[in-house]
Structure formats: C-alpha cells, structure tokens
Amino acid sequence: MRSEQQVNQAIERYGDTVKRICMVHLKNSTDTEDIFQTVFLKYVLSSIVFESEEHERAWFIRITINVCKDFLKNFFRSHTVSIEEAIGQTDHLPLEHREVLDAVLSLPAKYRDVVYLHYYEGYTAPQISRILGKNVNTVYTLMTRSKQLLRERLGGDEL
C-alpha cells in the first residue's frame, strides 16, 4: 500500500487530469466525486511500480476511463442522457471555454476520449490506441471524424 505522502503527491499531480476525464464522461459533480475517489483509492492499493512519470500518468488516464465506463454500465444507473445536465457542468467557466467544452461534451461518447487525449494531452494515435485498447486505425478514424464534427459545431478551421 502506498503512503499518505505518495497519495497526496499523486492527487496534486494528477487530480486535474482525473477531473477532466470525469467531466468528459460523467454528468454531475456527485458522480465525478465518486469516480475521483475510486481512482485514487485504486492508486493507494495498487502495487504497480511505475517506470516513469509518463507511465504513471498513462496509468491514471486508463484507470479513470475504465472506472468511468464501468460506472456508466452499472445496471442500476439510468442510461438516459440529459444534454442540459451535461452542459450544465461548464456553467461556471468563461464563455469562450464553455462553448468549446460544450461542443466536446455533445459529441458521441466514443469521440470524447480521443479528443481529450489527442488535443489536450497530446497523445498520438498509437499511444491512444494502447491506452484505450482500440485498433490504431480506429483511433485515426475517430480523430478525423471528431475533428469534422467539432468544426461543424464550432465553425472555422482553428481548433
């Protein structure tokens, strides 16, 4: 089991990343808190030895995405999606950012991870395919399609 110091360092280092991925997948702050806590509890109990900070970051990203997906697949949860509820998470943000994030959140679920991992985290398609466990050609297709969809929703070529 990891120490309290390690956990605190991890929360500071990766907390924002975990929060962003939660926001991409989840619809409200309560669910986000649940997932956030679950991810770091898994970190505490994990015995994996990380080769580098990049390895550790990739682990957090993969675990957070998986926990979010498992959470959403839970039988007892409602599967209906309210776009207003989802978009409501960005109400507190500046308009400029809110517009972009709302566009991202309005994308079908399969595009959102790719958009975040590529456009924000800067991962390449092969890296994303390893993180998500998808075929690299599938990732390329998702990236291309998501770019088209975002251009339609946001307009202009500059993303």
Binding site: M1, S3, E4, V7, N8, I11, E12, G15, D16, V18, K19, R20, M23, T32, E33, F36, Q37, F40, L41, V44, L45, S47, L93, P94, E96, H97, R98, V100, L101, V104, V115, Y116, H118, Y119, Y120, G122, L150, L154, E158, L159
Partner: protein, 255 residues
Amino acid sequence: MSNRIQRAFQSIHAEESLKDSTRNFIFHKTNGYRNHIRFQFSRLIPVVACIILLIVLGCYQSFFTSTSIISIDINPSLELGINRFEKVIWVKGYNPEGELLADSLEINYLNYQDALEQVLSQEEFTSKQNEPVSIAVASSNQSQQEEILSQIQSCTVERKNTFCYSAQWDNVSEAHASGLSCGKYQAFLILKSLDPTVTLEQVQTMTMQQIHSQIQSLSPSDQPQNSHGTGNGHKGNAGHSGTQNNGQHGKRERE
C-alpha cells in the same frame, strides 16, 4: 490546431474541496494507511479446486487403467484387466461361452489371485480337467508381468494341463481387433508360423485344445516335450517362441 481545446480543458481543475474529500475518503478506507493488503485466500479456491480435480482424475485414471491382462482360454475365452494395484478392473469374454461366463462373474476390484481362483473354480473349467487351460499374461510393465506370471504358476501348480506363459503387450490391440483374447491370439501366431495357411477365422472357432494339437502335430519332432509349460512357453514373440525348449504347446500330460 488544438489551441482552443487545450485552453478550454486547461480551465478545468480539481477543486480543493474535491481533493480534501478524497484524502479523507482514502484515510478512512485504509484505516489511516494502516491496512495492508491481506492475502485473499479465497482467490486460491479455484486453484485448489483445479488441483483437487486433477488429483482425483489422476487417481481415477490410474485405478481404471489396465497395466496387465490375464487371458484364460480353454473354450471359454476370457480376459481379466488388471490395474497397477493388482486389482481386476474389467472382465471380458471373447467367445459366446466366455461372454456368458464373464457376465456371471463378480470379480471386479478383487485381487487378481482371488479372481483367478474364482474363475478356475467355475464349472466351465472344472468340467474340462482333461483339456489344456492356457493362461497368458501380457503387461506394459515387465516386473508386474513377471510377478503375476509367477503367482499364477504357483496357484496352478496342482492343476493339470495348465499352460502359463507371457504374451506380448504389443499384440494385445491386434488380438482384440481380431476378436480374440491375447492368449488365443498368441497361440494363433505360433500356429501360423508353423502353418501359414491357417486363418484367423479358422482359429476363432477352434478350442485351445484343437490349436494346441495342431501346433504339436506341426512342430518338429526333435523338440523336447515338457511336462508343464509353466511360464517358459512362447515368450510372447509372435509366432516363433514355440521353438523354445519348454515352449511346446499342446496337451501336456502330467504323470
């Protein structure tokens, strides 16, 4: 090209309240970081179950695999399958009389010596004291074969016209494919070596006495006659061991 998305996501942060609640959550869940990961023995259950299953299957296979065959032939032609623990695990007749006899016997799981005693005490054998009884032992384990043969010789020393010998394990499948017990098949091979025209179909309907008589009549006349073919008969070499000193088939008369 990702500037707008980058700036947008950059504005998302984990709130301090979220971090604090997470720290508290983990602190309580781990009982103050004192809980160590205990080895979950329940995870071993499937492994242990598989090991037990393999052991049981192994024991089952070990018990129910025959390592030796005792072939008893007069006219009832009968085989007993013996396992490594010297228990009879199957009984099979190779002609109508043998099948009837096999159905009437209850010798499964007996030690082979007790089983053999029961078989030889049956009327089908006691009523034919003047006919030769051929008892062949075939085994995949040479030491077991020698042991069984030795025991059978001891058990049958008082019995007239009992011919004990070892048969070749490699011939067992051929014998069974031909519908013959391995003892009778062994006799067929010897007869065929003396008379190549003899066929399996002919031998299938012959009694052991008839086979032995033919072998004796076809054998070279300078072969010494033995009083009892105890164990040193045709050593299991297909068709040729009858030339051994005391390997003569045929009726043996004890004085």
